[in-house]
């Protein structure tokens, strides 16, 4: 039998961790409880933090957005601050699991579980997010790419809890794009995914671009070389096609039950081509405007 603690405050969490360092923590249970199903005796006790309201909700702190790690995906999708400033996170989270999974699962759980296929991670990487990790006596803030070292490898100590995720409000990015390729739309882990924040000048030149890929390496992949190849150009297929060639070298996918490494490599590059739709839209708008002027 596993004893489950149901604390309502962080103070209670610290007391439990003092007594039982290294105790496994869950919020929604959509990952941990699935794993424990195969080994029911693996944990003598667990902490369920779904009632710790101190680490739930979204706030604006000056130029930053701060998300409590215990906020469910459904609440984030409905949050006006997230909708206004971080549409890219919504694009990722709406692809995550299914409605009941999104009602249960939390962003902190998705991050701390550190799956390369996690749908919150590519958006959080391009948002240059930081994670706040607390223990009773200490708070440390770490860039998300330093927090995660490999599949399931989040840098969190036996007395620590992931409490918040924070990022500066992204400014000037007209394109918030996330696409996930999976075996089916709902409930499927990504075979490959890509997040993109792009700022274009009025004439369609890419002024700033941030890209990240999921499910094509041990952690989320970013690549400055690819971003450099697109910056200063327009989102036309030729530019994106040549950048896609660089992506295929930057990623390090594996073969698994969902897809082959070779397929993932190809798809990771091809996901870039989708950005051409935004250029085409700008173009169509320009043509329409031109026609109106006449």
């Amino acid at each position: 039998m596993t004893r489950i603690h149901l604390p309502e405050t962080l103070e209670e969490v610290w007391s439990i961790m003092d007594r039982e360092p290294g105790i496994k923590v869950y919020a929604g249970g959509t990952d941990l409880l699935v794993r424990l199903r195969r080994m029911p005796e693996a944990c003598e006790s667990l902490i369920c933090i779904e009632r710790v309201t101190e680490i739930q909700g979204v706030t604006e702190e000056g130029d930053e957005i701060v998300i409590g790690a215990g906020t469910t995906h459904s609440r984030l999708l409905e949050d006006p601050i997230i909708q206004r400033h971080a549409a890219i996170l919504c694009r990722g989270l709406e692809m995550l699991g299914s409605p009941p999974i999104r009602h249960m699962g939390t962003i902190g759980g998705n991050v701390a579980n550190a799956s390369p296929a996690a749908d919150s991670l590519p958006p959080l990487y391009v948002l240059r997010a930081f994670v706040e990790i607390r223990s009773r006596s200490e708070t440390r803030t770490v860039p998300i790419d330093r927090f995660i070292n490999g599949p399931g490898q989040a840098q969190i100590g036996p007395h620590e809890l992931l409490t918040r995720i924070r990022f500066a409000k992204p400014r000037g990015f007209g394109i918030h794009h996330y696409e996930k390729i999976g075996r089916r739309k709902a409930q499927a882990c990504a075979v490959a995914s890509m997040a993109a924040l792009v700022a274009q000048s009025p004439d369609g030149l890419v002024e700033e671009i941030r890209l990240s890929w999921g499910s094509v390496g041990p952690t989320v992949v970013t690549c400055e070389e690819v971003e450099d190849a697109i910056r200063g150009r327009t989102l036309v297929p030729a530019t994106l096609q040549s950048a896609a060639g660089l992506v295929e070298h930057a990623v390090a996918p594996i073969d698994d039950v969902r897809a082959s490494a070779e397929y993932r490599r190809l798809v990771a590059g091809n996901l870039l081509l989708r950005l051409a739709q935004y250029r085409e839209k700008a173009f169509t708008a320009e043509i329409a405007e031109g026609a109106e002027r006449k």
């Binding site: 039998m1 596993t2 004893r3 489950i4 149901l6 929604g28 249970g29 959509t30 409880l33 699935v34 199903r37 667990l46 369920c48 779904e50 459904s74 699991g97 299914s98 409605p99 009941p100 999974i101 009602h103 249960m104 739309k185 709902a186 409930q187």
Partner: protein
């Protein structure tokens, strides 16, 4: 009632309380057969432990129709013959109720997305979507003054 803190909610319902309307299929959060409403929100009872229900309001398919008459969603499923083997239907009905609570007039596409976590192995999705579409209309009519 008292229960061990780690008792899976689906076992608590089916085995301890005899409420077998809630089904278990995958046991891993993929199929939606074990969907229940906790404080009005759809949740998967195979991925919840008994302690998480402390002080919460739980609704299963058995208590879904609050009077003798069927809930509009149930009635619509019956009217459309949206049931084949029936195993997924309690979960489908509760997932549809959760969807209509959030989005009272969904498009067909939104209905499909709202039910994306519920698998029908008979693949009877078309009539299920028809049923939810009609339930939304009834729901809408009832809410109008």
């Amino acid at each position: 009632m008292d229960a061990p803190s780690d008792r899976r909610v689906v076992d608590l319902l089916r085995e301890d309380l005899g409420l077998t309307g809630t089904k278990e299929s995958c046991g891993a959060g993929d199929c939606g057969a074990c969907t229940i409403l906790v404080d009005g929100e759809s949740r998967l009872s195979c991925l919840m432990r008994a302690i998480q229900l402390q002080g919460r309001r739980v609704k299963t398919i058995e208590g879904f129709a609050e009077s003798d008459a069927l809930h509009p969603v149930q009635k619509s499923f019956a009217d459309h013959g949206a049931v084949q083997c029936g195993f997924c239907i309690p979960g489908m009905v509760l997932a549809a109720a959760d969807l209509l609570e959030r989005n009272p007039s969904p498009t067909r596409d939104e209905i499909r997305q709202g039910l994306a976590g519920n698998l029908c192995r008979c693949t009877g999705y078309r009539k299920i979507v028809d049923a939810v579409e009609q339930a939304a209309e009834i729901h809408d009519l009832e809410k109008r003054p």
